[in-house]
């Protein structure tokens, strides 16, 4: 026993030492520098990516960091690694480190002179630029990116119920379906000359501007649906919510299948292309911002109190029933928004896409990323989606690898990768200083 422990300890510390050595030069790099570095990298890829790829023997610029490519043709592994290093790692590392001193000073000065939300907005615009140019390379990336951002909305909102509130809800696909169909009917009825709903009622040019209203209508429809789940299941504690919400998902699915007016099982198509990258990005930011605001307020933290000890919560003046209802309806609203966006990204919905498969995916993202954590859910959604796309060439084996990964996460981190962590944007973007406290010194001293 003692021998085993002795063998294990140095290995672990060696790994940690390696990590610290890699991390060391970048400890003082603020978020602004990383974003600038990423922007440079994506611009390099956009301008010379394809030529460079052909030069080193790749057919074209790898779509998702070369993972799908090397899974299809393992001989290309060295070339793919060279490409990743030349296009992504080297520029990001160089630029991030090179601009760190300047960025630290700039962010510090900006935070002193202008309101914090403007500084955050600047970072978000930079982030958008990075995503925009990255997606410019091909349309597949554009699709994956938008689906991933929608997954973030769905995951963060489900975490409010399954993580923060500690109940087990299975009704997210049902809410997504309500939102998707609600927003689709809104678009098709008012702005599109459509087979089912006939000529548009309003001038189609107004459509993109009124699209948020359609999404919100879909979200509200989902909230109304949530009321039917919440009223019976929050009377008592226990597993009722899991059962009732699962039933709800199936009911919604079969109701839509039997509603000829929205296309029945054939689905509903022809939604206009209004869910563009900036639109989806804006909605994602809005969702994360509002949900994060909520869970960090005392009203939102009451969810944790209700979860950990409901009797104590009510003895401390917390209206437990109202708290649970509010959170559930709120989560359903965002699931509806996500569904509406999804319908307009795919430009087609059918009831089949809101069944058990969708439920399993969104639950997996929540538990993979981490309970009770907005940042965990974002990591879960992005990680799960990119992984799922990148492993696509493995076909059936993908559904062996992903569950195995999930099981490993459950064994080693039972509450998920980044659970019970606060998401504080100001902390992420603030200037970083090294242990010496002097950024310029650290920059030149290496």
């Amino acid at each position: 026993m003692a021998v085993a422990v002795q063998d294990l300890t140095p290995e672990k510390s060696a790994l940690r030492r390696l990590w610290e050595r890699v991390q060391g030069p970048f400890l003082h790099v603020p978020m602004l520098s990383w974003l600038v570095g990423a922007l440079v990298a994506v611009l390099i890829e956009l301008s010379v990516g394809n030529n460079l790829a052909r030069l080193i023997g790749l057919p074209k610029a790898p779509v998702l960091f070369g993972v799908s490519l090397i899974l299809k043709e393992p001989v290309l592994v060295p070339a793919a690694i060279v490409y990743i290093v030349l296009v992504y790692l080297a520029p990001v590392a160089l630029v991030a480190r090179g601009t760190a001193g300047w960025a630290n000073r700039t962010v510090a000065k900006l935070l002193d002179t202008i309101p914090a939300w403007v500084v955050i907005l600047i970072h978000l615009l930079l982030l958008y630029a990075v995503l925009h140019f990255w997606a410019e390379v091909n349309t597949y990336r554009l699709l994956v990116l938008r689906l991933t951002m929608i997954a973030i909305v769905l995951t963060v909102s489900l975490n409010v119920v399954n993580g923060y509130m500690g109940e087990f809800s299975c009704s997210h696909p049902g809410f997504m379906a309500l939102g998707a169909y609600g927003a689709s009917v809104f678009s098709l009825l008012f702005f599109v000359d459509d087979r089912i709903f006939g000529a548009p009622i309003l001038p189609p040019a107004l459509g993109p501007f009124l699209f948020p209203l359609g999404l919100i209508a879909g979200g509200l429809l989902a909230s109304v649906g949530a009321l039917f789940v919440a009223i019976p299941s929050f009377r008592t504690r226990g597993d009722y919510l899991a059962i009732i919400s699962l039933a709800f998902t199936f009911i919604i699915k079969s109701v839509i299948e039997n509603l000829e007016v929205v296309g029945g099982p054939r689905g509903l198509g022809g939604q206009p292309d209004w869910a563009t990258l900036p639109v989806v990005f804006a909605w994602t930011v809005l969702a994360v911002w509002i949900i994060n605001n909520f869970v960090r307020s005392t009203l939102g933290r009451a969810l944790n109190a209700v979860r950990d000890d409901e009797t104590a919560a009510s003895a401390m003046t917390v209206n437990t029933r109202r708290t649970k209802m509010t959170a559930f309806l709120f989560a359903a609203f965002w699931a509806g928004i996500g569904g509406g966006l999804l319908a307009h990204v795919l430009k087609y919905v059918n009831p089949g896409s809101f069944g058990l498969q969708a439920l399993a995916e969104v639950l997996a993202m929540v538990y993979f990323g981490g309970l009770n954590s907005v940042v965990g859910s974002m990591v879960g959604a992005v990680g799960f989606n990119l992984l799922s796309e990148a492993l696509r060439p493995l076909e059936i084996f993908k559904w062996i690898i992903i569950p195995v990964l999930l099981i490993l996460v459950m064994i080693f981190r039972p509450t998920g990768l980044i659970a019970f962590r606060e998401f504080d944007v100001l902390k992420i973007i603030r200037p970083k200083h090294t242990a010496e406290g002097d950024t310029d010194h650290a920059l030149t001293g290496s």
């Binding site: 307020s297 950990d308 919560a313 009510s314 401390m316 509010t326």
Partner: protein
């Protein structure tokens, strides 16, 4: 008119009569105690008054208003604060947020403030935080403010419960065995804290306690509960010498 008046309350759990014809009056600023052997129904009485159980018979008047049938959170918001015998704290919530949470019913920024982070919300949260720090200071655990309760020792957790109950702005404070599991030193500190909050907020306090020294020193009058019925009521001296009380605790043979 007394602050709190419990009249002829009886409570059944199925066929079991847990509390029988229980009466209590509390004036503002009074400290009264409730003692009795295990299983006598002491905590049940607390749960009846604070709305966790609804009494089978009888009425409970707070400031002259009948509070039977109100939800626990409504009763708590009216000014009946409590602590729990077996520490009912929230595992994943830090000490400061425990105290802030007890201000829930006083929050006015509403959902709009919670969703959009309005100025009003941040102002109000800052006020709550200041009050919470003040209460933590009062019970002497300010330096644990950002700790999770799972990491803290028992004596500290009792004080967290105390600070949390005080944050609800109680007029009557119900303390369910506030010194259970404490060592003699912590016990003296807890007694000090109770005296201090009693003075500072002019609270009426009703407490369940097993340690006679503690009860005798703090309480003006004491009720002894046995099998759901009050068998003796009086000053600490009277209770200490009452043969019925001694019998209930030690058994009949020993008394003879």
């Amino acid at each position: 008119m007394p602050l709190l008046e419990v009249k002829n309350v009886t409570h059944y759990f199925g066929g079991l009569r847990a509390v029988h014809n229980y009466n209590l009056t509390l004036e503002p600023g009074q400290i009264r105690g409730l003692i009795g052997p295990n299983g006598a129904g002491k905590t049940t009485i607390f749960n009846l008054i604070t709305g966790i159980y609804r009494p089978s018979e009888g009425e409970i008047l707070f400031n002259g208003q009948n509070i039977v049938g109100l939800q626990p959170y409504q009763i708590a918001a009216m000014g009946l604060g409590r602590t729990f015998q077996n520490l009912q704290l929230w595992r994943h919530v830090n000490v400061l947020d425990h105290v802030k949470m007890a201000r829930y019913s006083k929050i006015t920024y509403g959902l709009v403030g919670a969703f959009f982070g309005t100025r009003k919300r941040y102002r109000e949260e800052a006020e709550i935080e200041e009050l919470a720090y003040h209460l933590l200071e009062l019970v002497g655990i300010r330096r644990y403010a950002d700790q999770l309760v799972t990491n803290l020792p028992y004596g500290i957790l009792r004080r967290v419960e105390m600070a949390r109950a005080l944050a609800t702005e109680p007029k009557v404070l119900f303390l369910d065995e506030p010194t259970a599991g404490m060592n003699p030193e912590e016990l003296v500190q807890m007694m000090e804290i109770i005296r201090q909050v009693h003075q500072e907020f002019n609270l009426a306090i009703f407490l369940i306690e097993h340690r006679m020294k503690f009860v005798m020193e703090l309480c003006e009058t004491i009720q002894t509960l046995v099998f759901g019925e009050v068998i003796a009521e009086g000053t600490p001296e009277q209770i200490q010498n009452d043969p019925r009380v001694i019998e209930a605790y030690l058994g009949k043979e020993l008394v003879e």
